[in-house]
Symmetry: D2
């Protein structure tokens, strides 16, 4: 980090800063410029709480230099991590092939999930998404079928070979989800639920970690770091749209430039969710194509047999015909960027 | 809700919308305007998932009319709810008197918390805050003293009479926190941790519910609704700053207009946290005064005996002298708006 | 619009609202629901100031139904407007072919602009961008070569056939820019400079209208409406990134879903600017590909022969080799979405 | 500035950075840390375009240290600048006394403005606001009475002694506004209209500079710097709300912490506009009180005799009775923070 002193700071103040730096076990180099004095801190301050140095007399600001994550960083590992999704269809995230994960927001009934599973497999998906435990903004809304839903998902895998991706919302749900699912999804609203992250880090299932609605890129990678620090190395980073002043034509803003930036800073593969990323089904096909062109390693999409009657998230779900058309078009875009779907 | 049809929509499309509305158990009134046809939906659609109507052919958009929360709404209760904080000093949130909750971000040691407790009581605080379980952005940062920290807090109450406000981060921590604390704090990053909200709704302890960093006002009140729906009526709404493009001089933007708006829409009392609301200790005193002037029912503040050496959140903590000065000045502002501190 | 009354509003209040509506020359239909009374306003209220109805006693809120723009709307014209850029290379925005506009942020010297012009033409661009009048955040920064810069641009057109796109910042610059340029660029910071919009509406040159950093989609289309209302029908809508809490890895967030949404709501063609849209040259190539995949009708890009020594915006400029590679790759993506570059 | 090299950067890359730094006329100090090498740049780089250094091989990022404004900075002048508003009532912005500027959004007629002028003076205002030239989002909305409106304002000053504050939207309006008004208001949408800023810098009238909807604090002070650099030292900084994801209960978010921060960084006085800052008249009184408590040097408020029939901005206007009550209550808050209204 760099500690920038105020104009007119005095040597005693600089000395005090140096003392605080040394107390942290770090060394310093003081640079007296024509306009400002700065204290450059030498050594690994990655995990130090630096902001409190701002309080010292004569300090103007503290500028961090090192990122605060380590295991998620491309500094420790150059090659992109590849993560097999499970199931029998061979989907892997992080390679040349771009797997598509599709399915309804919620598992609503056995028939519903089986029908959708067969249809999305037919269209080319290799994994099935579907929520058994549902985080709902309203306490009065449908909360999911819980373990029953997990069983239906497992049956869908049995019948189709699709890998199962489903959300785990709390620590007590981990055993059941680990039993039935192939990939644990960690939802956007739980991205900073640190107890849950730590526990999921102790499982050995692949994790689809969704970015929080207003998480910075650094916070996103630190959430991944929690899981990696627990020993679980199979983390996929999923961009699902952020909250901005754009609330009129979309539910979220999909910031696709994060795809190449995450590839630069981290070795973890990047999944994009254009369904939540827009919240509007008519915008999803174009955003699927754009995500592939931006370098996404996988897509996760909401697909429903009858979106008008979906119990949750109908407005952003593709119907089966739309999904099938999207699959055809993204194959072409993938080829144009030397990838395959 | 109002379903707005596209220009040029046909009667068959309108009929289909009416059918969908009726399937929801609701009645309709079709209004054919010169430019647009709209379908006004009659009846309590508060808890219906309306967005999927957007998918019906010929529909342009769906405009909700009713708020989706009910028990938190001022429609069901006019008087502001008053919530005693506990301890022996008689602090109550929601009346003419404005209690101040103060203390360190984290409980760091017995000595630290006792010293701060005595000092903040001396200065006029009626409750002590302090984290035993700490949600930390980095897995490598200090994670709190856990149950040991709770015991120190209880001892501080014993010695001072201050009520204890402390965060509960996950379901398994509830029993311990309920045992030692007077008020359960639910952190901003957990505002949409629905399982935790529901479980906290089953306790009978007052809850300090912090607004999520990018939660809308409606989502905030729906989070409160989760707790109320569980039977716990003692919910305080705490504004602690939101995430905006302002990342240069503050860590968060403190949107004080939410105070009067929450008072208008809800009967629940409103607490403001200027420490997190700015992230910078030099801005806290002015924002304390502004919060009181805006109508806050309580303040919660980070105070530390030695902020330069605080294990967490030093940059936004007041030292004891600063806190004591803030207390004096807010007494005067409170009097100017016919309140008391 | 729909005027929603508060719960418990009385007939006299409703009557007063009806009176206000009638004063606007509009008709009403009163709908008494079980929970709320609403007043649906019939007739063209597109250009009425509705918000003041919110002040009437008993009114909860006013919900607009009609968009406030008209000439920019796809309701008045179905086919996408096509706009020839000028020059002798035949670039047209809004058709199957996707023209690329490239060049430096600023015209710095005759030699600089001529070299870049030849190079970008070589690589496949059909228009040259370059600022002669520069809007600069700092009064101490390079402000452009003014009319001299325009002459160099004209000479570049002479030598290459490239159309010239350049910014006009104020009314007094219009005659000079109209004389030398083929397309008038209206910058993001001037998107709501209404006097300038109105005057540009009186010219008959194509306009590249950049979206303001925090303009809503409706404000963006209303800015276009200002130009259209003046009789100038050749308006291109240019997305160039918005301001969000993402300030760490990008200068702006590029919200590509606006491309299909603008195509839905308007007949005007849509240009994307990935250079300003990210502010970081290493993110530009992926965002070029994503923009094409999202349906962009043209790209505008900053390209410089020696970005390390560019007088302005070096950090987001591609060098000539990078630009040439981008051109190759976007040709392939365009083909994958049935377009051509 | 500090140039941070990537991990693994080599001496040749560092050498190249040093060469670029020297080309800028600046000196360097290279610091080789255990994790990173950084190049600290010595000398006044305040007005240099640093971002292009990011493009040099081996550079990770460039961190600015000096603010890019100078004349607006508290580094050059400690005391708060005081600015007399004009008129005969003696209002001055920047001292202990807090003047209130009040009036309608638009001048609508002679009678309207005179009535309001007398009423706001009666209630304690010392200056009258009112738009003659109106920036309107829609080309079809009322655009103001232009010079006729200015004359009515001047007559209001004649009759009441109130100073006149009115917006100038474009360079050609400057002579007329300078002739009739006491204070030139520069609107939020023009905060980065640099040509206009520069021309206003050449006048010798006080300027009320409104912050742009998404301007950073630094951009805001740089806009002031444009005016100061022209020789006009009488600039008031006016916070009027920013654009955030909060679009449901307010039109803008009012970030009051900017008041003490501007006081820290600049010597210019700070005005707050709670009318635009919320967009909702029912929130204005509490935000007036909060603004005063936060340290505002003046308030500017929209007041209308009949807001339901205001031609513009009715929804955020106080009526005369509400304004008079606000004045009484802010006097008390001002006294509580050792100020006067």
């Amino acid at each position: 980090m760099i500690v920038v002193m105020k104009p007119g700071s005095n040597p005693k103040q600089v000395e005090h800063v140096v003392k605080l730096v040394n107390e942290m076990g770090l060394k310093e180099q003081v640079i007296v410029g024509t306009e400002r004095t700065v204290v450059a801190v030498l050594g690994n301050d990655r995990f130090k709480d630096k902001q409190r140095l701002e309080l010292a007399d004569g300090v103007d600001k503290v500028v961090p230099i090192l990122a605060s994550y380590k295991m998620a960083s491309s500094e420790v590992k150059n090659d992109r991590t590849t993560i097999p999704l499970g199931g029998t269809l061979g989907g892997t995230v992080g390679g040349v092939k771009i797997p598509v994960i599709a399915g309804p927001c919620s598992v609503e009934s056995k028939q519903q999930i089986l029908e959708i599973a067969h249809a999305v497999k037919e269209a080319g998906a290799v994994a099935l998404r579907g929520g058994a435990f549902k985080p709902r903004t309203s306490p009065y809304a449908f909360q999911g079928l819980a373990e029953e839903g997990l069983k239906y998902l497992a049956e869908a895998r049995e019948q189709t070979g699709l890998a199962i991706v489903t959300e785990v919302m709390s620590i007590d749900q981990i055993p059941a989800v680990v039993e039935y699912a192939d990939v644990l999804q960690l939802g956007a609203r739980n991205m900073q639920n640190y107890n849950l992250l730590a526990k999921i880090g102790q499982t050995r299932k692949p994790v689809l970690l969704k970015r929080g609605l207003s998480a910075t890129l650094e916070e996103f990678l630190l959430a991944a770091e929690y899981i990696l620090a627990g020993g679980n190395t199979q983390v996929m980073l999923c961009e699902r749209g952020i909250r901005t002043f754009e609330t009129d034509y979309v539910r979220n803003t999909l910031p696709l430039a994060i795809v190449p930036e995450l590839h630069k800073r981290s070795h973890l593969p990047v999944v994009v969710d254009p369904s939540h990323g827009t919240g509007k089904s008519h915008l999803v096909p174009d955003m699927c194509r754009a995500s592939i062109a931006a370098g996404a390693d996988a897509l996760i999409l909401e697909v429903h047999g009858d979106p008008e009657h979906a119990l949750t998230d109908g407005a952003q779900s593709l119907n089966l015909k739309q999904f099938s058309e999207v699959m055809k078009s993204i194959k072409r875009v993938a080829a144009a960027v030397d990838r395959e779907v």
